[in-house]
């Protein structure tokens, strides 16, 4: 096998954080190489540097044995290295075709002008080629859902026929159909003797898809596993640097002790996101809500927190209706939003600011005056309880890793001693160590009699943690499943699609 990607002694810092520390990595023709590691381990950083998104501080890169210095993602793509990024990689305000040829419109010039007809035709062909022909190339990208937008990115990369394809945590956001498209592309590339670098935090997925697997931790390469060496515990151990103690999920299968209903929703309607939706949340229960990305479950979370008003229907907490966010908070509801960086946290503010803001009424005197000592004590308590890794509570949140950011977001609501917690994808983009801590925390809270609404796109998490699972599809409640040992992912998925 020919070595196609070769990275030696690469280092990269972001301010005070060391993202990559002397990393050596190589990949060969005809393989699907997995990259796995906790958040902040550097797996996205190393690949994004190779794909031209940013520059390394030190180290050398070779591509097909030659020096490799891409000036931008487009430059890298042109020369044969394409990357599908984790976050949204499309521009919403322009057409699909323009996104596919973003930064390369120059090649569609007819005289001084842009030949829109040819642009659209070529883009449509690119979409058809990857099996995403249902997308109209002339459409405005912002009108499409997340999955179709991902497919556009894939088309954008594939139209350049890359020799190396990097897929960064893309599949979590995709439905089965989307996943199949991407798997088939990856397999075809391997079969054509090209290279795929696949990044995922989903151990099962990465083990089934990849030929070899490299584990990163704290910006260092820990170990590379060959296919035959794949073994879940060994990989996990090398990922977090120690043996996982205790269980990942909870291991009891008892019903909640109490039967008291704390939150009750009746006939909620909101566009196509909620259709005649009714359910009850009991005290001391973890209620999972699952479905595909756009089934309406994220909207449900916002509605229950008073952040969106349903068109019709009611929901009550202890029999009293919730009228606004402020009211929801008074009724002891807490909400951790799905989009951490834009909805849960203010990145340019400190840990203290972020945690304190939700609890101002808890520690201020007469809900008015703030004494620094009380504030610090309040924040410190949460930070310690969650063991947030930071230089101090005055550190800016933007400098924290994903997991620690999520802990801050949790901290906002723990301090308020919320009785009902609405958690929308609480472990999204969080590494295993933190994930486990979160699960333990959720379980502990459940046993203290708190109620948790766990909205999640991860099947295993729902099955592993929930007392009951509500499956949503197109805004409707499709199925209610009760916790049991026999529940498998297939059981759950069949109601989603």
């Amino acid at each position: 096998m020919k070595k196609i990607v070769e990275i030696t002694h690469m280092s990269k810092r972001f301010g005070s954080t060391v993202a990559l520390d002397d990393v050596d990595l190589e990949a060969y023709e005809g393989e699907i190489r997995g990259l796995i590691g906790e958040n902040g381990s550097g797996k996205s950083t190393v690949t994004s540097i190779y794909a031209g998104m940013q520059k390394a501080d030190a180290g050398t890169m070779l591509f097909e044995g030659k020096e490799w210095h891409p000036s931008s993602m487009n430059d890298a793509l042109k020369k044969g290295v394409g990357m599908i990024v984790q976050e949204n990689g499309t521009v919403p305000g322009i057409s699909v075709a323009e996104n596919i040829y973003l930064g390369e419109i120059d090649s569609y010039k007819k005289g001084p002008f842009v030949d829109l007809g040819r642009l659209n035709r070529d883009a449509q062909k690119a979409l058809d080629d990857i099996g995403a022909g249902h997308i109209n190339a002339a459409q405005i990208t912002g009108m499409l859902d997340f999955q179709d937008r991902k497919l556009i990115e894939i088309a954008k990369v594939m139209v350049n026929d890359p020799k190396v394809l990097v897929v960064d945590e893309t599949t979590t956001a995709l439905s089965q159909k989307g996943r199949e498209i991407i798997y088939s592309i990856m397999n075809k590339m391997r079969d054509d003797g090209k290279t795929v670098i696949f990044i995922s935090h989903d151990l099962d997925e990465i083990m089934s898809v990849c030929d070899r697997l490299t584990v990163l931790r704290d910006g260092k390469i820990i170990r590379t596993f060959d296919k035959e060496e794949f073994e879940e515990n060994a990989i996990k151990t090398s990922m977090i640097g120690r043996e996982l103690q205790g269980n990942y999920y909870r291991d009891d299968y008892e019903e909640p002790a109490e039967k008291e209903t704390v939150l009750k929703a009746e006939h909620l309607n909101l566009g196509n996101q909620l259709v005649d939706f009714s359910f009850e949340l009991k005290k001391g229960e973890i209620l999972g809500v699952g479905g595909l990305s756009h089934c309406g479950m994220h909207t449900l979370g916002k509605v229950l927190f008073g952040a969106m008003m349903p068109q019709s229907g009611t929901f009550t907490v202890h029999g009293k209706p919730v009228t606004s966010i402020h009211d929801a908070m008074k009724k002891q509801i807490g909400y951790v939003a799905k989009d951490r960086d834009t909805e849960s946290l203010s990145l340019d503010a400190s840990i203290k600011d972020n945690i304190a803001i939700a609890g101002l009424d808890k520690f201020s005197i007469k809900n008015f005056l703030i004494l620094p000592s009380k504030e610090n004590a309040y924040v410190k308590k949460q930070a310690d309880a969650l063991s947030i890794k930071c230089a101090g509570i005055n550190q800016y949140v933007s400098a924290l890793s994903g997991g620690n950011k999520q802990k801050v977001a949790f901290g906002k609501w723990l301090g308020r001693e919320s009785e009902i917690l609405i958690l929308d994808c609480p472990t999204r983009g969080v590494d295993i160590g933190v994930k486990q801590a979160m699960y333990q925390l959720m379980y502990k809270m459940r046993n203290e009699g708190k109620s948790i609404l766990l909205i999640s796109e991860e099947m295993a998490e729902l099955i592993g943690m929930s007392d009951r699972i509500l499956i949503m599809k197109d805004g409707e409640l499709k199925k209610e499943l009760v916790r049991s040992r026999d529940l498998s992912e297939a059981d759950v998925i069949q109601y989603m699609i």
Binding site: G15, S344, L345, S346, L347, I357, I370
Partner: protein, 319 residues
Amino acid sequence: MKKQHIKDMIFRIAPIVGLLILFALFMVFAVIKDINIPYSMKNILNQSVIVIVVATGAIFIYTLGSFDISLGANMCVSALIGAMAYNRTGSVLVMLGACVLCAVLISLVCSVLASVFHLPVFVTTIAMLSLLNAGVLMLIGANGTGDIVQVPADAVSAINTVEFKLLVLCLYLAVCIFVFNFLKLGREEKFVGGNPECARLTGLNNSRLAILAFIMAGIGVGLGSFLTITYAPTLSRNTASSVGMDVIISIVFGGMPVSGGARSKIYSAVVGALSMTLLSQIMLMLNLNSGISQMVKAIIFILVVYISMSDNKKNNLPR
């Protein structure tokens, strides 16, 4: 780690260093040009005080990440109303009350309008500017004493002292610092400026906070218009016409980020306004023509703000 820390420090104190350098320069020229330094000191305070008061209030609006272009016009209307109130009643207290009440009311109308109709705050203030300018002409017309509205000079001469102005300034500054740093309101304002959506999802009522911010700013404008009357009891349609832009320039010069948020500083107004006044004084001593002194001012402005704010780490251009 350390290096970064030091860099942050430098950025943070750059405006203050700028103020000190300007002060040093001022002293050097003052000695060379043999000017009346004690009088000049008093003069600098006198000239900065109004901008400081108004700008300090305006910080609350800037903290939210928005800004108000109608502050000067609001001040003019409030001062006119205050002066008319004095002429009716002969009471300085009534004048103060009228100034503050009118300014707060105008701010309130502006912010409530924006919040009720979901308008962008800045654009609302643009419309407000036109309305207030028209209002000024009408008030002057209604007053019927030519192009001016006047309060008898002896009515306010007793309080036209640096000591009184400093007292007003310190009181208001103390209140603002207190509100900004020790009250729930201040925290919430800063948080909204950092991330409005997150603030909303944390139960903060953004439009209520915007209204409160405008009220705080309105109080500053009201006090500013009161001080304007005491300083120059003859008002015209041009009263406070330069204050609006002076406030923006001073706040930015003082190191306040225009995007607001957690890094907002209440003392920016003080530092910025004093710096700008010192700069003008230096220009005056050099007796440059208006055009050249404005060019020098512009260049120094961009340079100082560049040193204190520029974020070269970011890939993208700021917006």
